[in-house]
């Protein structure tokens, strides 16, 4: 990255307020929901109140409460037991409305599908010591149990059956009677009566997980070590959500929050980063994503006919990942699947070789963007740590020193939160830059200009929040009145936020406003801003598919034969 000095010597005072900076146009096209004025009247954060979050974060107690409520509601409405209501909800993605609909349309059909019997299919044995259908031993009546169907098994076999299923994963939530011809569902009540405390707990955890994972409205927060979930209400285009644990993530793809870059680019970028690490090789070798639900599937036994785990249950061929149902004619079969054999013909080592080659060709360019992406990432981590330090230690000191109540010092926290957010955005602009088509010079130039300005602005804010603040903590008399500092930092925070919001919007629009005029305006921008573009490759274009650098004259990629992006 360019040295910090580079950023600081950028036109220090005028750029936030000058009306001809390129960011402003991005305001004009968003329908004017923001007045686009960068002046200091935003200091009071008046615009924060009208940003109602379109999601809520749920703690475990909240989750259980929500789940209990839905089960109670359904159980009351349909007059079924809570265990049955829970089974019905599990089968219908935890939507009371969905269950209603199907239940009143075809109760019998629903009962059959989920295995809720109204009466036993066999008479419960009235022998003194009936025989268990699994171990064929006779047991006293009080040691024999059965589901609603009446098929008798001894409690020990039940316990082993349930335990095996519970240890096999969340599929245990769909457990049925062991009798092969019987589909009677096993409810939580019966599980709780028979299994060990440990298994009971595991089952209950799967039930909670199912509530979050099978429910289209909820997701787990992917933050490290976080156990909260987030419920999302559609109707807003902004998919970035922020959990109680302070981890921000994208609702769509559950990667960390990544505006202005779209989910597809993030996926490509992350895959690219991972391709460098050996970790990926292991994953590639050992697991494949289910072709339908994309969860990684590890093959652990049996033939190539794979069945994804509940709830997806997609059947596919391990070798070619095609649906098993259309596997017959089209492919070459179980151990000689054509798709796979064809791919194998080219050779595993061949593929590795090609990858190595590709990487070498684009490694320089990639490294350029990656380093900057990673640097901003670690700067952000550092800023989070500083924010924490501020919150726990410095703020109190400052409060004493300046005789200000902590509530009046909120502006410092806001500044730090803004720094954290800006680092995040800036980081992703490097992924954005990496995938920005090389031949679009105007866009690239504009992009690099905007990125440079953003970096300079952020450095200014960072400097004020970090270094200037020290003056009010130290023993020396501060150079200026604390109130002056307050309005400077608050002003910078507000201005930087606006700038970054506009930047995000401009990039999300694909810099669609770029035209010759805009580029003419910022014609002088190229020289030495902090934003790093990689423009040494003007005589080439980058393949969208494999990132290989091709000579400008080639219509298709020399490496992977993909046609050139229609630039």
């Amino acid at each position: 990255m360019d040295s910090e000095d580079d950023m600081h010597d950028a036109n220090d005072d005028d750029y936030y307020y000058s009306s001809d900076t390129a960011v402003e146009y991005s305001d004009e096209d968003d329908g004017g929901d923001d007045d686009g004025d960068y002046g200091c009247d935003h200091i009071e954060d008046s615009d924060e109140s009208n940003r109602q979050p379109n999601y809520i974060a749920l703690k475990e107690a909240d989750i259980r409460q929500h789940q209990e409520n839905e089960i109670t509601t359904l159980s009351t409405v349909l007059s079924v037991s809570r265990a049955d209501a829970s089974i019905l909800l599990r089968h219908h993605r935890w939507s009371v409305i969905n269950v209603h609909e199907v239940w009143y349309a075809d109760e019998e059909g629903v009962r059959k599908a989920v295995g809720l019997l109204e009466s036993p299919v066999v008479q419960f044995p009235n022998a003194q010591e009936p025989t268990c259908g699994i171990c064929f031993e006779s047991s006293p009546l009080d040691g024999i149990s059965s589901a609603a169907c009446g098929h008798p098994f001894c409690d020990e076999c039940w316990r082993a059956y349930m335990s095996t299923s519970i240890n096999g994963g969340p599929g245990c939530l769909m457990l049925r009677c062991p009798d092969p011809s019987c589909g009677a569902a096993i409810g939580q009540d019966m599980i709780d009566r028979l299994v060990s405390e440990e298994d009971k707990e595991r089952y209950a955890r799967y039930l909670v997980r199912s509530y979050i994972e099978d429910n289209p409205k909820t997701k787990w927060c992917p933050g490290p070590g976080c156990e909260y979930a987030v419920e999302f209400f559609v109707g807003n285009e902004n998919c970035d959500v922020s959990c109680l644990c302070s981890h921000g993530f994208c609702w769509n793809c559950t990667e960390e929050a990544h505006r202005p870059v779209d989910c597809g680019t993030v996926a490509k970028w992350i895959m690219k980063n991972n391709a460098e690490s050996e970790n990926t090789d292991w994953l590639l070798a050992n697991s494949k994503p289910c072709p339908k639900c994309k969860r990684p599937i590890e093959k652990n036994n049996g033939c190539m006919h794979m069945t994804c785990t509940y709830p997806c249950k997609f059947g596919f061929c391990w070798l070619c990942l095609g649906a098993w149902s259309d596997h017959g004619e089209r492919t070459g079969g179980f151990y000689a699947c054509n798709g796979y054999e064809a791919a194998k013909q080219e050779g595993v080592y061949d593929e590795a070789e090609r990858r190595r080659e590709r990487a070498k060709m684009s490694v320089e360019r990639y490294t350029h963007y990656y380093e900057r992406w990673a640097t901003n990432h670690s700067s952000r981590q550092k800023a989070i740590a500083d924010l924490h330090q501020m919150q726990t230690v410095n703020l109190k000191e400052l409060s004493v020193k300046q005789s200000q109540p902590e509530t009046k010092l909120e502006f410092v926290m806001k500044a730090w939160l803004q720094i954290v957010e800006c680092r995040r955005v800036l980081k992703w602009t490097y992924a954005y830059g990496y995938y920005l088509p090389e031949p679009e010079h105007a866009k690239r130039q504009l992009f690099e200009y905007l990125q440079g300005e953003a970096e300079a602005g952020l450095e200014r804010l960072h400097q004020c929040a970090e270094k200037d603040l020290q003056a009010y903590l130290g023993p020396e008399p501060p150079p200026t009145d604390f109130n002056d500092f307050r309005s400077k930092l608050a002003g910078l925070t507000s201005v930087t936020r606006t700038y970054f919001e506009n930047l995000v919007r401009a990039l999300e629009n694909g810099l669609s406003d770029v035209d010759s005029q805009a580029t003419a305006k910022i014609g002088q921008a190229g020289k030495g801003k902090g934003g790093g573009g990689y423009s040494d490759y003007h005589g080439s274009w980058t393949c969208d598919q494999c990132t290989y650098f091709n000579t400008i004259s080639l219509p298709t990629c020399e490496m992977c034969l993909q046609p050139r992006h229609n630039a």
Partner: protein, 142 residues
């Protein structure tokens, strides 16, 4: 009759190993598969080792032949290198991995697998007494 749990019989044990091999092992630097898909007794196998980092073997691909006889896994398979290699435990004429000079074969236990053998051989390549030995040209065979 012993009261311990009866062990998995040879054929089912080999089927397990076959499936594990088809799935792909660890970081992919060792792998193996059956030589003859028609052999119901699954005797002949081919193993592959990609030479470990920080050794003369780095990046080289070695092919091996493993033969699991009727008494496998009570007895270890016979193992020999197909690709030429210079290692202390490998016979220079035949490529045979000499059990006396290679611990896992010398102290064989039925729980050991072909994967273990290949992994151990890879480790052996990076051992101080092997990692700097001059190697025959790549692509030559015993």
């Amino acid at each position: 009759m012993s009261f311990s749990f009866p062990s998995v019989p040879r054929n089912f044990r080999l089927l397990e190993e076959l499936e594990r091999g088809e799935k792909g092992i660890g970081d992919g630097t060792v792998s193996y598969g059956m030589d003859d898909g028609d052999d119901i007794y699954m005797r002949s196998w081919t193993g592959t080792i990609i030479g470990p980092h920080n050794s003369v073997h780095e990046g080289r691909i070695y092919q091996l032949k493993l033969f699991c006889d009727k008494d496998y896994p009570e007895k270890p398979p016979s193992v020999r290198f197909h690709s030429r290699v210079n290692m202390t435990c490998v016979n220079h004429e035949t490529g045979v991995v000499e059990p006396k000079k290679f611990g896992i074969l010398a102290n064989w236990q039925r729980e050991y697998t072909m994967e273990d053998i290949l992994t151990q051989l890879k480790k052996e390549m990076a051992a101080p007494h092997n990692r700097k030995l001059v190697q025959p040209p790549e692509g030559t065979y015993f």
